[in-house]
């Protein structure tokens, strides 16, 4: 290709137009940039700073040393991962089935049923969590019905423990799993399934060799986002865990509220942030990040 003449007719004016257009676009995104800087970047930088300071303000690594020395932090971290993995696994099982059902239905019917998935999504987490408390507690609806029908004699401990927390979290996280899965299943051309069947694959083989691999991007996106959101959950373990379930966010809150120890809390927060970013970074090597977060409605 021939090099563009720098001094063709109107070259300077057109160049100036292009530059001013770019400034306009930048100007439009300025308010958003300011907001993000003010309420996200600044506090995180502050947190980061605090985690390296003594109460007097001198530089120290003691806060991170404490995370390593005190077994309670390791327990919290282990429990956080255990719950997050369990919830993600259950969301995959339940969400895949639900998304599959929705993807097979005519779009209009699927749209109506999708409202059922989204409705709780639009309800406050606090409200949903207390709703589960009502259902699961000692004299809650499930125990009353179970005893009345004779399934069990004594009230079951359904809440204020790991089980209750997982149930609540699964319910809250399910839409984040279903939406990307549903989108990725809708994108699977019916001809792929028909083609596989035509070539001799029975329903199970079609699923295993074709449908599952083709829905993997949705599975991956849903799994990643569910797991990351679980890591940071606070309200649900606080309410349904009855104090016995302390996840990372609860631990941090405890440090601040009970002991006013900002240093250790900040250090723990930084560790959690680093873990989250590491997972996101790893995930981004396998799938595009905008796909992971673009899975929503």
């Amino acid at each position: 290709m021939k090099a563009l003449a720098a001094e063709g007719p109107n070259a300077t004016e057109l160049g100036r137009d292009a530059r001013s257009e770019r400034w306009m676009l930048f100007g439009l995104s300025l308010p958003a940039l300011l907001l993000v800087g003010l309420v996200v970047v600044l506090p995180i930088a502050w947190l980061f700073l605090l985690s390296f300071q003594t109460e007097g303000g001198a530089f120290t690594l003691a806060n991170y040393q404490r995370l390593i020395d005190q077994p309670s932090y390791r327990r919290i971290l282990a429990m956080t991962f255990e719950i997050s993995l369990t919830v993600t696994a259950m969301c995959i099982v339940l969400g895949y089935a639900l998304a599959y059902l929705l993807a097979q239905l005519p779009r209009r019917v699927a749209g109506v049923l999708m409202l059922g998935v989204l409705m709780p999504f639009w309800t406050s987490i606090l409200v949903r969590t207390y709703a589960w408390l009502v259902l699961l507690q000692r004299d809650g609806l499930i125990n009353v019905i179970g005893e009345h029908l004779g399934f069990w004699q004594k009230p079951l401990a359904l809440v204020y423990n790991m089980e209750g927390t997982v149930v609540g979290l699964v319910h809250i996280m399910l839409p984040f799993m279903v939406l990307p899965l549903y989108n990725s299943m809708r994108a699977i051309d019916r001809d792929y399934v028909r083609g596989a069947a035509n070539l001799g694959a029975g329903p199970i083989q079609v699923f295993w060799h074709v449908y599952l691999p083709l829905s993997r991007p949705g599975l991956f996106a849903g799994g990643t986002i569910t797991f990351i959101l679980c890591l940071g959950s606070y309200v649900t373990p606080a309410v349904l865990g009855g104090g016995k379930i302390v996840m990372a966010a609860n631990g941090i809150a405890g440090d601040v509220e009970l002991y006013f120890s900002w240093g250790p809390a900040s250090a723990f927060g930084v560790v959690l942030l680093v873990i989250t970013l590491t997972i996101l970074f790893t995930a981004s090597r396998f799938a595009r990040l905008d796909r992971i977060f673009g899975g929503g409605a």
């Binding site: 028909r194 083609g195 596989a196 035509n198």
Partner: protein, 371 residues
């Protein structure tokens, strides 16, 4: 495919297909209306019709993806009507090709072999052989996304025939290709079919494709087979106005008469050797079958019918020139003159008088609505 000495498997003969009284309705819409069809062993049969005619529905019934409301269906001696698609053992080329994007070319082609538990070395050999056959050697390791449209088409074909099915179904196999490639693939598919002897049913709305590739064509409209015959029969002697309109260009002129004599205006048509269907009321003329007689030239063979008129318009269309002529007896016909002849001055100017000649085998009489 070059059969190696070890490849002693007998060439599987194509299976005949027998369709009887197959109907399919969607709500009130009738997609197939009591269709009967016999496809012979090794035949290349094309289902040709406009969109919504039911041709694809019929193909999907054969593949097992559409369950008809009634009827019977046999591949050879085998009743397959209620058999699931994966048990029918037919190859199929989808309009979208349906190549699995998460598998390589070789994995796609080996897919049906894997399902049939063909041992790996044997499967690899057959994949290579079939890739040679569709002229894509060394493409096995490529991803499907890296292929051009024509290459995908070949891979889809390779995958459909690698397990040596007795029947091959094709749903608009060439519609996604550009015109030049499409025409080349038509010839290739035809040659491949001749070589494999596999019974082939192809759906298309492209008349040229149907004429080029098929042994026989079934013209379908509104859920019924209107006419079934060789490309020549369908083109030369369409049985209805619909078929004549759908395949090729034609002009229709009303005729009167019955039995052995028909009149176009006052002129009796010479029919030597042609028996028109009873009750025929339309004369069908194809533009390229009308000979435009040069002015002052002697009359043609006495077998020919000669009609006269006046040139109203001349349209240059590249390889040919279309001449519109208003007949002295009323009505308008179009005659096609090749560009080569037009260059020699064989085309009169608008307003000039013209004489057109056609033999009995160049005309067709049929029943239908005039207009």
């Amino acid at each position: 495919m070059t059969p190696s000495p070890t490849d002693a498997r007998p060439q599987q003969k194509g299976l005949p297909i027998r369709v009887r009284q197959v109907s399919k309705t969607y709500g009130r819409a009738v997609a197939l209306d009591q269709v009967d069809l016999d496809v012979q062993s090794g035949e290349f049969l094309t289902l040709l019709g406009p969109s919504g005619s039911g041709k694809t529905t019929l193909l999907m019934v054969l593949a097992g993806f559409v369950r008809p409301n009634q009827g019977s269906l046999h591949f050879g001696e085998r009743d397959v009507l209620r058999l699931a698609p994966h048990k029918r053992g037919v190859g199929m080329v989808f309009q979208s090709y349906a190549l699995f994007p998460h598998l390589t070319v070789a994995e796609n082609i080996a897919f049906p072999l894997k399902l049939r538990r063909v041992p790996r070395p044997e499967a690899m050999r057959r994949v290579e052989a079939v890739l040679d056959l569709v002229q894509l050697p060394d493409f096995g390791g490529r991803g499907v996304d890296a292929l051009s449209g024509g290459q995908r088409q070949r891979v889809a074909l390779a995958r459909a025939i690698v397990f040596e099915p007795g029947i091959l179904l094709m749903d608009e196999p060439l519609s996604a290709l550009d015109k030049q490639l499409r025409e080349r693939m038509q010839i290739e598919l035809r040659a491949l079919h001749d070589r494999l002897g596999i019974t082939t049913v192809c759906v298309t709305h492209d008349q040229r494709e149907a004429l080029t590739m098929s042994n026989r064509i079934a013209v379908i409209d509104r859920g019924s087979i209107i006419q079934l015959g060789t490309p020549k029969e369908i083109y030369d002697r369409p049985s209805t106005r619909f078929v004549a309109d759908f395949i090729g260009e034609s002009t229709f002129l009303p005729v009167t008469g019955s039995g052995g004599t028909f009149r176009l205006g006052a002129q009796a048509l010479k029919l030597e050797g042609y028996t028109p269907p009873p009750g025929a009321n339309l004369l069908m003329l194809r533009p390229e079958r009308l000979a435009l007689l040069p002015e002052g030239a002697p009359g043609p063979d006495p077998r020919y019918n000669v009609i006269t008129g006046r040139v109203t318009d001349i349209v240059y269309q590249g390889e040919s020139v279309l001449v519109q002529i208003r007949l002295d007896d009323g009505g308008t016909v179009a005659a096609r003159v090749s560009s080569a002849r037009a260059a020699l001055g064989a085309v009169p100017v608008p307003g000039a008088s013209a004489r057109l000649a056609f033999a009995p085998e160049d005309m067709n009489l049929l029943c239908g609505e005039a207009g």
